[in-house]
Every structure is written in C-alpha cells, then in structure tokens.
Amino acid sequence: MSEGRRSADVIVIGGGIHGCSTALHCALRGLSVILIEKDHAGRHASGVNAGGVRQLARHVAEIPLSNTSMALWHRIEDLVDDDCGFTSDGQVLVAEDEEDLGNCRARVDDLTLRGFHHEELIDAAELRRLVPAVSDTCPGGVVSRRDGAAIPLRATQAFKRKAQSLGADIREGVRVTRVARDGSDWRVETDHGAFLAPRIVNAAGAWADRIAADLAEPVPLEVIAPMLMITAAMPAFIKPVVILRKRKLSFKQFGNGTVLIGGGYLGRAIRDENRTVLDWGKLATNAKTVWDLFPIMRGAPILRAWAGIEARMPDDLPVFGKSTRHEGVYHQFGFSAHGFQLGPGAGAVMAEIIATGSSNVPIDGLGIARFAAPS
C-alpha cells in the first residue's frame, strides 16, 4: 500500500465510529486527515454493539457530549448522507419496584437542578402507555423521549464514506506498530510504512492503551466483551428501547420484529485474535430477566448471540481530550460499552479542539490526567 499520502494535518488511529467521526469533522474544517485502521471500519465495538442512541441515565460528566451528539443524530442524514437506520422512539428506564422508582425520582430531580431536562419521571400509567407489554408489577420509570437506536456498522461506515468523500484518506487493514516523536511531527509506524502528522488522535478503542503506553501515558484500560442476543421476528409489541437499573438489561424491538437483548453481561475477549467467547451462563441470566419482565417473549427463538471487543476504564467514563504530556496528541477512547451514541458529537468536539484549541462543550472529568501516576 504505497499509494496515497504519507503525511497530513491529522492522523486518526482507529476506524470506529469515534475515529471516523473525528476524521469527518476534521475534514469538514478543512484539515487533511489520514485514518489508520487495522481491520475495517466498525469491525469491533462500533459495528457490533446494541446500537442504542441514548441520553438516558448517563453519567453527569458526559451529558454535554451526549447532548451535542443527540443534536447530530437527529439530522444524521444531512451529516453523512445515510439515515444510519436511526429511529427515535425514546428510551425508557423501567423501575422494578418502589425503591427503584425512588432512585429514579432523585436522579431526575438532580438533573433538573443541573439544568438538564431530557429525563422525565413517569408513573405506572405512562409506563404502560409507552411499554404495554411490560410486567404489571413495575411502578413507573424514566423516559428520554428523543432517544432511539441506529444500526451500528452501517452508521460507522456512513461516517467513513462521508469523511472519505471529503478527502480523508482512510487506510483499512493497516496496523499501527509504534508512535513516536519525529521533529515537530508525530511518526506513526505501521506494517505498511510510516505516516507523519503534527497532530494525532488515539481512537484505538480496546487497543488504545498500547498507543497511550507508547506515549508514556499509561492507562488502566480493561478489555471487555459485552454480549448481545437477537431473537426471531416477533409481532410488534414495543417501540422504545427499555433499560433497567437494578438488573442488567437493554431491550429493543426493531422494525422487522426481531428483538435485541443485551445489557452488558461480559463474555471473554481475546483481543490479539480479534475473538470473543460467550458466557452462556450469564446469557441465561440475561434471558431470565426478559422472561420476568416480558412474558410475551418466553417462546421467542434466540437466533444469534455475540460479543464485541471494547475498552472499559475503571470509572466507566471515556478518556477524551488533549494529552497532558504531549503537544499535538489527543485521546478519544475507553467508552466503556456506551460510546456509540457519543460518536457523532465527540468527533465534532474533538475536531473543534484540534482546530481551535478548545470547545464550548464541557468535557471536565474525562481527561487522561485522572489516570496519571502521582509524581
């Protein structure tokens, strides 16, 4: 692969939705971009996740990024020339009992005090209106009405194609072996030769700790394999995505009737082989939760189960922003199994920071400095 450019304004490492989105937004700002991906765009976390587009129940530190992203999701076709399969029927957090509902109330009150109004407390009647099939023992919950879902790989590839159409050079099947300073540039060595740029973005997902280590900014990244299952088509019975707080569950029915069951139970990730092994014992627990909550699902045939390879940080928050050690290095990884929705907005904010030095969207609490060893 000797054709194409060897240097650019920005090199993005990693072709997940974050890398592709940052590449696209950099290109929109007139920066030249090379994106380097060891497999193909969306091969891992970005292509095989549940596709939830969710503002609901996010950590306060990432709400501003999430809100920025949601605005982009609602005009996704204008941005990437593809609707990405995005539908917006809301997401509902179901409270399983009164104590659960009390926690929901406290959460919504707290958000209101902080000036966020996307989460709305609902009672049993509204819950039943939104999710008629839910077990009648559930007393209410929280809804985020602008939320929804998209098709992960399709969305990631749409970002890739649009970035490419704006001149970004997307190199798939190219593996980064080392990152090092080279005068005023960063030198990104790969199995297809070296690339140079004054600015690099580490968006390498479950492999990002290796890049960070090369840059002497080690991070305690854990490689995880969240599992998902999908059923055969069922009669239409639910529109919004349903999540739980006490037990792990993410549950949604697609337009074609198939039902996706997830929630973050972990299989085993073998990252050096791009492979995962499922844990059927935990999937059984996942199935049991659905069995309890949605009696209509009890006879549904499970057609497939799978797991993606993702990165999780110890505090379950992403690493996002400038390097604290190096000029021209930016980190965007560790989305801890909930980064898909953030992709469009995080790319826009990252490109803004790269191009202008800062962004109006607060990203406090997400910096890599929180993992720096005390000196």
């Binding site: 292509g47 590839q157 055969a232 085993r268 499922l278």
Partner: protein
C-alpha cells in the same frame, strides 16, 4: 450404546463429544468407545444415519433396490455402535461449542425443549454436507425444493413428489436421486443437466485416477440406468421456476433457446458443500477450496481443526463421500484418544495405517468428479437482479450487487449490517456461498479474498425459555463467589 431420551440423562462431562450421527460420527463414536473413552454422540435427527444413511434403522422403504445397495451399508455402522457404551442422544441439537477456561469445551445442547451446558475434553464435529444453495428466479415458490429434501422424504417416510416432477442441476447425486425417485414411482418428466460442457476439459487430466476409483463402476451404472430410462436434457444454461403462488413449470434455456416445461414439482441440486456453521461459530479457521469451490474448515492429517481439541471428520471438512467419511471419523477418534492420553502416538499411528490406506482408495477419483461437476458461474451467482438470495430476510441478488458496488461493502459480514442477509434463522446456510460469489464478482476479487460470514452461536435457534431455565453449571456457581 446407551440411548438418551431426556436431557437429564446427559452426563456433566464426556471425554469426547461427537456431533452428528452420519457415517463419520457413527464411526468416530464407535472407535472412541471401543478405546474405553466416555462418548456422547449427539444428533438432531430422530434416528442415526445422517443424510446418506438417513433413517437406516427406521425407513419404511423395504424394496432394497429402490435406494440402492450402497444405502444399506449404513446398517453396519449402527451395528458396530450398538455393543459399545457410547451415549447416543437422538433429537438433540448442539447449538454452541466453545473452548472453556479449563482447556476443554463447553457445549450448549437442547433436547425435548430443554437446554443444558455440558463439558467435553475433545470434540469431533461430524456435521456433514449440505446442498449447495442454488438460487434461480422463482425458487421460493411452493413446489420447488432441493433434491436432497426429496431424498429425505423418500428415505424417512417413503414419500415421492406427486405430479409431474423435474430434477435440475449438476453432480453425481442428481443422477442417483433421479434413479431412486423413478424406482420409487415418481413421474419424472425431465432431468435437466446444467454441467458446463467445458468442465470436461478441466476434468480430463484427472480422468486416469478416476478410472481406478471405486466411483467409476458405480457412477457408470447410475448414469446408464438414469440416462436409459429418464428424459435427459443436457447443456442447460439457465433455469427459472414459473408460477404465481405455486409452481406451474420451469423455463429452460439450452443452446440459446428457451422452452417451458409444465411441472408440479421442481427439485434443484448443484452438488454438496461442507456444512461449516458449527465449526465456523466455534472459531475454527477455514479456507476457500478452489477445486470443490466452497468454504472448508482447515484441518491437518488427523482432521484436527485450528482449535486444539476440535476435529472435523467427514464431509464437514471437505466432500469425500460416505465411505471416506466413516474412515475419517475413525482417524479423528484415534487422534482424540491420543490427545486424551489414552493412546500413545505409535499406537495411534499403527491403528491408523490401514484406515489411511482405505481412505486413499476411497478418495481416488474424487478430483475428477469435483472438476467435472463444478457449477457454472451463472448458477453460483444468479444473474437476474430479482432473484432472492437470502430467503430468511428476502434479500435479492440485485440488492447485494448494489451494496457491493455503490456502498462499497467489501465482505459478507458488512453485508449483514446493510441488508440483513445471513441474519435469519438459517444463519447464512442458504445464502452465504451465493453472497460471497456475488460480492467477489461485483468487486472483481476472489472468493478467498471476499471472505465468509463470521457465524454466531446459537448455531440452531434455542428459545428464550430454554435459555432462561438453563441449569447453572458448577463453573457458574463458583463464579458467583468470585
């Protein structure tokens, strides 16, 4: 042989789990049990035999000549298993095989509407062959089925298609089945042979070997019998099933001219390919076999896959026929016993030597058949845009070509996300090979480079209830403490 009739009778652990009770699985299970190993032979059919010897112990067909002498050889394989201690579980689906952390394997199985997870030290996949998908316009109409499906109905229930029946396609099984159905009383109005004439050029170099092969006499007899009695049409270059709501006929193109033959049943067959779904989902490496023109698990001389402890015996690791399948099953069992420390390497080799000699003899001439009956490109990748390729999700050839060219979809896995093809209950069994051909053709790259689906367990559907009621394993109980 210990017959297992309910899931509770299945043990927590076996030395060897054999999946599939066709010739390879029966032979592997028998040999392993004879060596003193604890063996589970799980098979989703109600009776042993696999496809080739399907219903060998239960078939209502009593006239031996109808199914041919070769069919009845299957009885010996079952008889060999009977005196052993192997556990045989009919009607039992294995929906997952995955390495466990102890160096063995966890198997997900389902029997009588209940699921279980069990462990096995070694796994032998004897999942056999499936018919190569053969999409033509109208192949989803009632009245159109595969030739193999018709053979299942004949062997298992003594049924033949009613009304005017046409058989179309390519390969030795086409002649065998035409002969069997005719003998059983079917009204066969045409046998349409799509074998490309130029295949003879490619095959001719392999002809000397074929002359010394066990296939020759058998094949010539079959051909002569079928050709003599049945209305053959060769040189067929295009086929389309006609009718709305129900099959009424088949349009055949030969020498540039088309004619429509009225019929009530159309049986399609374009050879057989390895059934790779379970091996693929278990993570076994596979490659594209250019001669047999299909994806094939990669195995070594002992039929061991890329995953230590999983062997793939029989047609599931490359088409060789029933006789070779049984021999390969034995070889795989010997090596599994060696891996388990029950046989020394030298003993294994000594046991294997005569089997290998038989195996070489049984495979002689196979290459000639593979080259001669290689399907024509237009039957591997349907030229008409409206032809349905993925039956589960109703995705057409035109949609796949469009996604490959306009949207830049480079492989079958990405095609899943764009068109959902391969995402239905059959998990790509019926569209995978065709999707690969279409993408390869559209992008001007090889099938090997295009790749194949990464398949996911459960390889056969398991219900949410079965899964929710899965009894916890010892490992899971320990994991809670962790």
């Amino acid at each position: 042989m210990i017959a297992i009739t309910s899931i509770g009778q299945v043990a927590e652990h076996y030395d060897i789990a054999v999946v599939g009770a066709g010739p390879a699985g029966l032979a592997a299970a028998a040999r392993a049990a004879e060596l003193g190993l604890s063996v589970l032979l799980a098979d989703e059919n109600p009776a042993p035999g696999g496809q080739i010897y399907r219903a060998i112990t239960t078939t209502p067909v009593t006239k031996r000549a109808v199914l041919g002498e070769d069919y009845w050889k299957g009885g010996a394989l079952v008889d060999r298993l009977r005196p052993t201690n192997a556990a045989y579980a009919p009607g039992c689906t294995i929906w997952s095989v995955a390495p466990d952390e102890a160096g063995g394997f966890e198997l997900g199985l389902s029997l009588g509407g209940q699921a279980r997870l069990i462990a096995a030290g070694q796994v032998i996949l004897a999942t056999g062959a499936q018919e190569r998908p053969f999409p033509i316009p109208g192949w989803t109409l009632p009245g159109v089925m595969t030739a193999g499906a018709a053979q299942i109905a004949l062997k298992a229930s003594g049924l033949v298609p009613s009304g005017r029946t046409v058989i179309a396609g390519c390969g030795p099984l086409l002649y065998l089945l035409a002969g069997q159905l005719a003998a059983a009383g079917a009204n066969i109005v045409a046998v349409l042979d799509t074998t490309p004439r130029r295949n003879w050029l490619a095959a001719i170099a392999a002809f000397p070997d074929f002359l010394r092969s066990p296939y020759l006499a058998k094949g010539l007899k079959l051909m002569a019998a079928a050709r003599g009695k049945l209305p053959f049409k060769t040189g067929v270059t295009a086929l389309a099933a006609e009718g709305s709501g129900k099959l009424t006929g088949v349009t055949v193109t030969r020498g540039g001219a088309a004619e429509t033959i009225p019929c009530d049943a159309l049986l399609l067959h374009q050879g057989v390919i390895p059934g790779i779904n379970l091996a693929n989902a278990a993570g076994c490496a596979q490659h594209f076999d250019a001669v047999q023109h299909c994806w094939t698990p990669t195995v070594d001389g002992w039929f061991a896959s890329s995953i230590p402890g999983i062997a793939i015996a029989g047609d599931g690791a490359g088409i060789g026929g029933a006789e070779s399948a049984a021999l390969r099953g034995e070889v795989a069992a010997l090596d599994a016993a060696r891996r388990l420390g029950r046989l020394a390497e030298a003993e294994r080799d000594a046991h294997a030597a005569p089997i290998r000699a038989e195996l070489a003899r049984s495979l002689r001439g196979r290459r000639f058949l593979d080259l001669l009956y290689r399907p024509a490109p237009q039957f591997l990748a349907p030229p008409a845009d409206e032809t349905i390729v993925c039956r589960c999700e109703e995705v057409t050839a035109g949609q796949i070509r469009d996604a490959a060219s306009r949207l830049g979809v480079t492989g079958p896995n990405q095609m899943k996300a764009f068109l959902r093809c391969g995402m239905g209950p059959c998990q790509g069994r019926l569209c995978g090979p065709t999707v690969v051909e279409l993408i390869a053709q559209e992008r001007g790259v090889s099938a090997e480079e295009t790749g194949y689906y990464r398949l996911r367990p459960p390889v056969k559907p398991v219900t949410l209830s079965e899964l929710a009621a899965l009894p916890p394993t010892d490992a899971a109980i320990k994991a809670v403490v962790r």
